[in-house]
């Protein structure tokens, strides 16, 4: 009974129309879509943020070299670190490990900066400012495109750069590994 039904069902299924004309002409909408220039997701602000992240990376490396060779005791400064609150959309979250490491490094920063020369401190402050500008700019674009994965990755990279810079200043890299949980 079942096999007979299946046979009849298969025969009937093969008779169902496979070519069906749409009730309206779908071409005009398609023509509009394929002839319009595609909107680039690489907006000027997006590009600016990306350039900032790259700049931060290069600048951090220079700072590292500078800090590494600097051991002069100097007067303390009061760095004004303003950390951006941000949302990473649905794809990323800042892990608790990242937050802990960041808080710890921030607490150490004052002490560590006192050991550096004014030139090195200025260099570090400029780099931190660059990173915070990048984070701020990316956040502005992220508000408009909260699900943009590339932007989220750029923001994460900026935070990683900040973490790397802080850890280099404190000479704490031995206690840190690259965070994969953020």
């Amino acid at each position: 009974m079942t096999e007979e039904f299946d046979d009849k069902l298969d025969r009937a299924a093969r008779q169902l129309a496979t070519e069906i004309a749409p009730e309206r002409d779908l071409w005009p909408d398609i023509a509009t879509a394929i002839t319009q220039p595609r909107r680039s997701r690489w907006t000027p602000m997006f590009a600016q943020a990306a350039a900032l992240v790259l700049l931060v990376g290069a600048s951090s490396a220079i700072t590292y070299v500078s800090v590494k060779n600097d051991s002069q005791p100097v007067v303390s400064i009061e760095p004004e670190l303003v950390f951006e609150q941000t949302s990473f959309g649905a794809n990323y979250n800042l892990g608790p490990g990242f937050q802990d490491a960041r808080n710890s490094l921030r607490a150490e920063l004052d002490v560590e900066l006192m050991r550096l020369s004014p030139e090195a401190r200025t260099n570090i402050q400029e780099n931190l400012d660059l990173i915070h500008t990048a984070i701020s700019d990316i956040n502005v674009v992220l508000e408009k495109e909260p699900e943009n994965v590339l932007l989220q990755q750029m923001l994460l990279r900026a935070y990683r750069e900040e973490l790397t810079l802080l850890s280099r200043v404190g000479g704490l890299t031995r206690n840190l590994t690259m965070r994969n949980d953020i």
């Binding site: 079942t2 007979e4 039904f5 069902l9 169902l16 496979t18 069906i20 749409p22 398609i30 394929i34």
Partner: protein, 200 residues
């Protein structure tokens, strides 16, 4: 544009009136032009294949509006991917794969399937025009009521004749899953259709 369409249509009609070989040759010529970003050539390909693609989308979604959207999405994607078409498979098969992806992508974006079914039942016209008559119309309606996965497998395998391996490849599932879903579809269809006198 209208005149150009007429010319293109005439070429296409002449190809249809001749042999399959001529159609294939004509199609190949249009494909090459479309790959060079010739939108008019792509329109010819659209008109050549739209009934096949819309039919597939309509069978898979069971809804006119969604089928129209999926058809348009499939052709837009096809346009964007034209350069990647190398002729390893028939152009129609290549389009079918893109259309199946368009349907699956649309479903992924939609809310829960139950919501979709409810929404569809609210807005769907009483009768979808498919050209099916009599028992075939009952069968088509029963297929539309199948659960999503079972419906997709049944449409690709039983209606369009794709093997389990081919259907599984299109749907991103295992061939064994395709077989299981076909079995499930048949049992559900039997339950529905026997009540309407569709018996062996």
């Amino acid at each position: 544009m209208e005149a150009l369409l007429t010319v293109a249509g005439s070429d296409y009609s002449r190809g249809m009136a001749n042999a399959d070989t001529n159609i294939a040759v004509d199609e190949q010529a249009w494909i090459l032009k479309a790959q060079r970003a010739d939108a008019r050539a792509f329109e010819v390909l659209y008109r050549l294949h739209v009934d096949k693609i819309y039919g597939l989308c309509l069978r898979m979604t069971g809804n006119v509006s969604e089928a129209e959207d999926c058809t348009q999405e499939a052709f837009i994607q096809a346009w964007n991917k034209m350069a990647k078409f190398r002729g390893d498979s028939a152009f129609a098969t290549w389009l079918h794969r893109i259309a199946v992806n368009a349907v699956l992508g649309r479903i992924r974006k939609s809310k829960r399937e139950q919501d979709r079914i409810q929404a569809v039942s609210d807005v769907q016209p009483a009768r979808v025009v498919t050209g099916d008559t009599g028992e075939l119309r009952d069968l088509a309606a029963a297929v539309d009521r199948l659960p999503e996965r079972a419906r997709h497998v049944f449409v690709l395998n039983a209606v369009y004749g794709y093997s389990h391996e081919e259907a599984a490849g299109m749907l991103g599932i295992a061939a064994g899953t395709s077989k299981a879903q076909l079995h499930r579809a048949r049992r559900l269809l039997m339950q529905q259709l026997e009540e309407q006198g569709f018996t062996a």
